[in-house]
Symmetry: C2
Subunit: 211 residues, 2 copies
Amino acid sequence: MVNISTEEKILKAAVEVFTQKGRHGAKMQEIADKAGINKAMLHYYFRSKEKLYVKVFREVFVKTFGGLHIIFDPDIPFTKALENFIDQYIDKIDKNPHIPLFIINELGEGAGTAVTVLQEALKNGEFKLPMAFLQMLNKALENNEIRKVDPLQFMISVIGLCVYYFIAEPLFTNVFMLVYKMENSGGFDRPKFIEQRKKAIFDLIYNGIKK
Amino acid sequence: MVNISTEEKILKAAVEVFTQKGRHGAKMQEIADKAGINKAMLHYYFRSKEKLYVKVFREVFVKTFGGLHIIFDPDIPFTKALENFIDQYIDKIDKNPHIPLFIINELGEGAGTAVTVLQEALKNGEFKLPMAFLQMLNKALENNEIRKVDPLQFMISVIGLCVYYFIAEPLFTNVFMLVYKMENSGGFDRPKFIEQRKKAIFDLIYNGIKK
DNA sequence: GTCTATAATGTGATAGAC
DNA sequence: GTCTATCACATTATAGAC
């Protein structure tokens, strides 16, 4: 990929700006600047801000969450799959920390583009994660591998545990600063913290559902 | 309160619009319409959109999270306090479902108004929740009431479990629709689901940390 | 395809009458 | 204090030359 096309440059810049600033906060000028071209080109390639946004949302959603269902391979034990999921899901979010909040915000705008994309992705198999998770969980419940839990509630809990820190990071870092100051600690080592987070989530869940 | 003042009407409308549309999505015209007055009055009372936003953020943040620390009363057992917290925190969010995402989004805008308000509230005692939670948790750990856990990680987990569903509700309702259709279920009873959520969270945590 | 210049619109803010 | 009318500016979108 020696020569990246103008269209690709625009899309790449648009992903950055839309995911970081949101639908309303994003400005066409900033996207143009980041792509190294001018505003007119954005409209030449994508007609309008709205159409560009739709492309960005669909691509971001599918690329981020499209492949994760393979973690729930029926041939490995549920507990191990869960551990893998926590590990890989958090790694993915950590590499794209703005994306969960971006998707949540756009889905919250009510019936419209984002919700339509989600529904289509659920139907056409581009977003198999929830069903793969629920199927493996139901099998583990049937086989009495784990304590009885409500499948939907449990799924929300696992995903929430993985995602929430990244969404609310500014809130927690400020609380940490207060705590660390009180403890005369060595400050905040973020990579170490992320690894500890994985372990804390798995420990909580594992002990929460083991028989 | 027979006669609500114009300033109060504006603030009430501004809270609604800002929390639902965000800082950039909110329009002064919509706030004016909702308050039943015209745009000029907004500037007469608050000078600028920015100043009005600051008032709204501070008020919303303190009113929503300012009083919750009293749940962690040292005289009651930690497990019971945790159960109360889950119950009351979720009730509060359920009554103001847009507020967590609003606060998270504004804190994510980087150093600025929202972060400043948070830091002040942490210092001046308007936001005692994190410290109250951590103190009670540390005591429970010292007394060997619960399994050994990392206090900060555990706090994030509890809050995330309570908040995440409300933040990502549009995502999950769409998944539910798919699941319920497959199961020929009677559809989605939201109030019942919220009560089940409280129970699911407490069960997971309780089993996750009990000795 | 790419650019500059400009139109068209939306929105925050103000002036001035009452 | 409240209103209408208007300004000033930012931003999306287009026209037209190269």
